[in-house]
Symmetry: C2
Subunit: 304 residues, 2 copies
């Protein structure tokens, strides 16, 4: 069995680790003109991929770097196998989701910027009701982390496939799941069905002590509706690792709202992520060499 | 068996729930002159207890409200059985300790006050090295919450009694345990041995990427030494739920340091605590009525 020829492009700060991963997986790093596969190193420059696709006449497989593939949607096709970082970043993102839940429940939004000893306040995450939208990798990891917390957890997903230790319901039952939650966590893929799923109507169903945590995509939330809900204390607060628009521009009203915590899409930082991506690339190159099924396949029709 | 006569004093916002707890435990609420036991409702006014002790000629047992009993030390004696809230607040405090760990590791100290989209940064609590000082109730609960995190945890305590899933060492081995930690959590009782255990020397042993989390007592830390260490980036940051002095006065340099998170002693808020205290009072009154051993005994000689 010949080592598969694999292009690692474009040159970026991730190149060295991904070249090492390709070789560790049994691949031979090659020019795009000869390559059977392309490992894309730069989520920041999706537009550059068009040239590589045009020049890669032998390409059968393309590995994208992130779990979310929105910037690459224009280039997807049925002529290649596409894989992405689906699932590999779930653990650090779940960690951050739990940190944001605790930050909101324990009032860090007002305590951290304070310059004076404030009155005590806060809610327990222990024994609380959590509703999670999405039943993918982040949710699975978050359920693992939440196992000792004695929370009553409801997972809302498209199909009511069971998940251990939780109640799983389908999107039709979303209103009841929002109403009973002390916190709502967004951990779902962005599709036409889920875009804007949090708007003034769904926010209005939530309890006024509840927090919204978004570690998925900014476009799940209608930002103006959330801003209004936070202003009117419809909910207690929002902790957003993703925003729409993203990056959130200077001067946006959310920056100055005490009941809104914003982190700059750091659920998985580049430094955390490269280690996880390199491991996935190594595994997928080894599978590609053996003709096995690849991990993290993109569903080209469903576009995620 | 007669219902024991129990005074619930002084009148405070906690009185109603504690009276209910006494009755639920089988006690009869009585005037201090007749009472066999005193349930102290007000941690805020320890000095008032002297009069009640003087007037309580039949008192055999005194229940103090908090886990830390420093304000009551002048009144302890060997003529009464003393109990306190030892252990009952451990779960919410452990929850807050985990929240502070995540807040530090994930950079909430700089992201929360920001008004602009910053660069990504942060460390994973997952798979990290945590050293916990103290092996009591808070540590036990924190170990339970940390079980899914794949952390390597070292517990430093006076006697090396084992704790499941961790390495337990004694105070002599503290230097090595500080040096290898990504975070050091203070969760120990305040005694003459532990007062000031964190000073410029012990801080200097910690890694420059490490966080210090204090959910025990402010006096465990020499505040001026910590301030200097944070200024000089000897450690990455400190997250303090307790301070010395406490409350931390306006204008103290720690308020303005970006690498210091301060919360106003909210590991267990009064609202969280009254529910837990009422349950303990109910149990102890029932035990007292039956002549059984009481929960949370104060060691008058060791003064905690």
């Amino acid at each position: 069995m010949d080592a598969p020829k694999i292009a690692v492009e474009p040159k970026s700060w991730r190149s060295d680790e991904l070249v090492t991963a390709v070789e560790a997986g049994g691949g031979l790093v090659a020019d795009i003109a000869e390559a059977e596969a392309l490992i894309w190193t730069a989520p920041e420059t999706p537009n550059l991929i068009a040239d590589f696709l045009a020049n890669g006449n032998n390409l059968r497989w393309i590995q994208l770097p992130y779990a979310g593939i929105e910037p690459f949607l224009p280039y997807l096709d049925n002529d290649h196998i596409w894989t992405c970082g689906k699932g590999i970043y779930a653990r650090p993102v779940a960690e951050h989701a739990l940190g944001l839940l605790l930050a909101g429940f324990r009032g860090l939004n007002s305590y951290v910027p304070a310059s004076t000893w404030q009155q005590p306040k806060g809610r327990n995450l222990l024994d609380s009701h959590i509703t999670i939208l999405g039943g993918g990798g982040i949710t699975e990891e978050l359920l693992t982390l939440l196992a000792p917390w004695n929370c009553e957890i409801t997972v809302v997903r498209r199909h009511a496939r069971p998940l251990a230790g939780t109640v799983v319901i389908t999107t039709e039952e979303l209103p009841a799941a929002l109403a009973k939650a002390d916190a709502v966590v967004l951990a779902l893929a962005l599709t036409d069905e889920t875009r804007g799923i949090i708007h003034s109507g769904t926010l209005g169903l939530m309890a006024d002590h509840a927090w919204l945590v978004n570690v998925a995509r900014g476009e799940h939330v209608i930002t103006d509706d959330l801003t209004a809900a936070l202003n009117q204390k419809v909910i207690a607060g929002a902790a957003l690792d993703v925003t729409d628009p993203e990056p959130l521009p200077n001067g946006h009203p959310l920056w100055e709202m005490e009941n809104c915590i914003i982190t700059p899409h750091i659920g998985n930082t580049p430094e955390m992520g490269i280690i996880l991506l390199a491991e996935r690339v190594k595994q997928n190159v080894a599978r590609f060499a053996k003709g096995e099924e690849l991990l993290g396949p993109v569903n080209v029709d469903l576009r995620y």
